[in-house]
């Protein structure tokens, strides 16, 4: 078990920065998910930690030892990290037991001890009695368990998961998710878990690092990411947040401030120290929007109503902002239809901090 520190890590390929100035501190025994759209640099980040890529600048430390900096890199085989790959990466020429026992054999462990450890690892992932099978004769979920057992058996200081559920079907995913959570609780291993699936990240992780274009967009707990996104990218990426232009009218007081959105004034949550400013951005969730007939509402047109069973997803274009789209769920009985006029009200929202407002070049 060890903590992992990334200190201003940058990785460039030719003239392209795959990872830009990322600093993350993963505590001992913490479960960190790295989340982002494809091409955001999350896999490169994992390969840097594992030692398959060298940092261009910055430093990586595992358990206090520097393993990578611009001066050099500790070889992957000397890092004591375990990896669970997306495609399992089981060696087809070895049996399940040989796959699991490989690192013990490489370390020249006593054969009887190694056999016992392999048995224990098999039991830990509920695969007792399958040691003599070939990986080709296992199901997808079983292969993933073998991969898990293989990285466990060496008692690594750190386990890296590279989108381990991406190749599994929906049912298996849910049960493997439970298994990973149980595994983390049982072993207390430090885990870095790469994924593009936010539900997976939210369900498993203590904290989530959201990556965007090689940069760390936000590092926070799942709750904080949802309720208090640090910037527009995180706000819109997590649970399809709605971004609306806003003017801040009053300074922060008790975690709230008054803003004007779509011509209406309302009180929203914000960071301490917010001051009045123009051209700010408000993040709303669909749960923050409701139908309202009174003067606090604003008019607009229902663009689309998609019935989804028990509720409909309504897409709404406000008259005050024809290029904006708000979406929310309306439970049965659904009264709004596409083309209908409606009046909505925003109950609350989160004011995106000033430093997190996107520059023109972002996107």
């Amino acid at each position: 078990m060890a903590r992992l520190t990334l200190d201003h890590v940058t990785k460039s390929f030719a003239d392209f920065d795959a990872v830009k100035d990322v600093s993350i501190d993963v505590g001992d025994g913490e479960f960190l998910a790295v989340l982002g759209p494809s091409g955001c640099g999350k896999t490169t980040l994992l390969r840097l930690v594992a030692g398959f890529e060298k940092v261009t600048s910055g430093e990586i430390r595992i358990g206090g030892d520097v393993v990578s900096n611009s001066g050099g890199s500790v070889a992957p085989e000397k890092r004591r990290v375990g990896i669970v790959f997306q495609n399992y990466a089981l060696w087809p020429h070895m049996s399940v037991a040989e796959n699991i026992g490989y690192s013990l054999k490489v370390a020249r462990l006593d054969k009887a001890v190694a056999r016992q450890k392999v048995e224990d690892a098999l039991a830990l992932v509920n695969l007792q009695g399958l040691g003599e099978r070939r990986p080709a004769n296992l199901s997808g979920g079983q292969r993933q368990r073998v991969a898990l057992a293989r990285c466990l058996v060496a008692a690594p200081s750190l386990v890296l998961f590279d989108e381990p559920l991406a190749n599994l079907d929906v049912h298996l995913r849910a049960s493997m998710e439970d298994e990973f959570a149980a595994f983390h609780k049982r072993t207390g291993t430090t885990i870095v878990y790469i994924t593009h699936d936010q539900a997976e990240a939210m369900a498993l992780a203590d904290r989530i690092a959201v990556m965007d274009h090689g940069r760390l967009a936000q590092l926070a707990t799942p709750r904080e990411l949802y309720h208090e996104p640090a910037n527009e990218m995180v706000a819109s990426f997590i649970s399809q947040g709605i971004l609306l232009p806003a003017d801040v009218l009053t300074g922060e007081e008790g975690g709230h401030c008054k803003v004007r959105v779509l011509g209406r004034e309302l009180v929203v949550r914000c960071r301490p120290g917010e001051r009045p400013r123009a051209a700010a951005r408000l993040c709303c969730r669909s749960a923050d929007i409701e139908i309202s007939a009174d003067a606090s509402g604003f008019d607009g047109l229902v663009k689309r109503a998609v019935y989804q069973g028990g509720a409909a997803r309504i897409e709404f274009v406000p008259a005050a902002g024809p290029d904006l789209t708000l979406h929310f769920e309306q439970p049965d009985p659904v009264v709004l239809e596409s083309g209908a006029q409606a009046r909505l009200r925003i109950k609350s929202g989160w004011l995106i901090p000033a430093t997190g407002t996107a520059r023109d070049d972002a996107g």
Binding site: R80, W91, P92
Partner: protein, 567 residues
Amino acid sequence: MSARIRESRGQEMVLTAVVAVVIVLLSLLPMLCLIKEIVAPGGVLSTVAVEAGLRSPATWIATWHTLVVGIGGTLLAVLSGTLVAVLVSLTDMRGRSALVLCYVMPLMIAPQVTALAWLQLFGPASPFLKLFGAAPPLGTKNPLYSTSGIILLLGVQYGPLVFLLVRAGLRKLPRELVEAARAGGANWFTVLVTIVLPLMTPSIMTAAALAFVSCVGNFGIPAFLGIPANYLVLPTLIYQKLAGGGPAVLGETAFLSVLIGIIAMAGILAQEVTSRRRDYRISSTSLPAEPYELGRWRQIVQAGMWLLIMLVLVLPLFGLVLTSLVPGYGIALTAKTATLDNYRFVLFEHDAANRAFFNSFWLSIAAAFFAVIVAVPVGYLIAWGKQRWVRLLNLSVELPYALPGVVLAIASLLLFLRPIPLTGIQLYNTVWIILYAYLARFLVLALRPTISGYHQIDRALEEAAQVAGAGLFTRMRTIVFPLVAPAAIAGGLLIFMTALSELTVSALLWSSGSETIGVVMFSFEQGGDSNYAAAMSVITVAVTFMLMLVTNLLAPHLPSGVLPWRD
């Protein structure tokens, strides 16, 4: 409606029928003829030919020799080819493409030219050794006239073949399998021994089987190195028997050629059996592994690789060029003695050499042209056809090339010894029988790249033309041929290079007036005129190099792997 159905099906049937006729004529007929000659010579069941062959001690000595050089050459080729493939594919060595080009080059040079070049390098008359005054005294036996000499040259000739197949396998090795092992604590060497090489066994086995077939069927190297030492293998034994006895001994040589065929097939079967037990299919597709950093070893490994290139390519060719400039046997080469007379002699004065250049060029062009024309429709049926017999079709086209050339040559002799029935046309003792054998033997060299070309084309392109109303022949001409043409033509150029200095087949089929370059080169060398043989070799090697450069121009339009020398 029914008329239209008939029309489109009619074109398909014509195509299929033409392809079937070509395949029967070129690959099934000669093989059947060979088997018939052994089982029932002259139409009567008889075991006389087999018994005579089995009783002769020469058969068993040659078989033993064939196995010794075949297995020895294969081992050497597998060791060297695999080593080079691993170093080139898995390390951060520099200058990779130049190295691959140079290492694969011996494969493009005819075996007898390789043999001649090495003989000139080490013999007592070696102009190269004389440059340092290190040549052994005249009359000393050339050290290459020996079993180990033959094994060495077979290893040099077919090491690149192993290299190409193992390298293709290594390219498909997913990096996760290597990385999982390294994360498990294994260093690079352990990964190589416990993961990479075991996963590569299917590739290495296939390569070994191919190298074995090539080694036992090789004629040029044991002819140049073995005959002077009276060390006969089966192909050279057949050659000597035919040269001495003519058509009368055809039955006996048929038996010997089937024996070679059986040995070659045994090699392929052994590979099949061992691969079936080890199913190491790699299913995932992924990026190749990061190259291993050699660090301070890099310079040493690079130097070692280029030393190898010097030994197997540069020095022999250098020796060949030097010999071609020497005025006569054993004369030291100096600025004063150097002469281009040998070139003038073979190009303009010697009648047979003149004819040989003419014959080989047009034979190679005709074979290449025919193969390109035939490969497009045959490839179409194999790659895109739905019929079940198509796999058999592919197999039967491969057969004449998979079997040693000697087998095909004997089969062609048997087929055309008598005039063709009904027409009375006599192919035996003419240049046409060589053309027939070339067509049969080399067709697959154009077919393979064409098929991989088809696999890279989106079939929807043809289907779009079909929807637009184009019939099969129109589609073939306007859509399919232009799309696969680069691959087919590259295959044609490969055929031209291979056929130009071909020896195995033409050594058995030539007659006065239908000499080929390989045959004349061989007779010069046998008559002691190494200088003329060297001059002819240098010319063919130069033509081959130039063609390789021209073919490179096609490279952007080709599926990868069609041009073996391009990395």
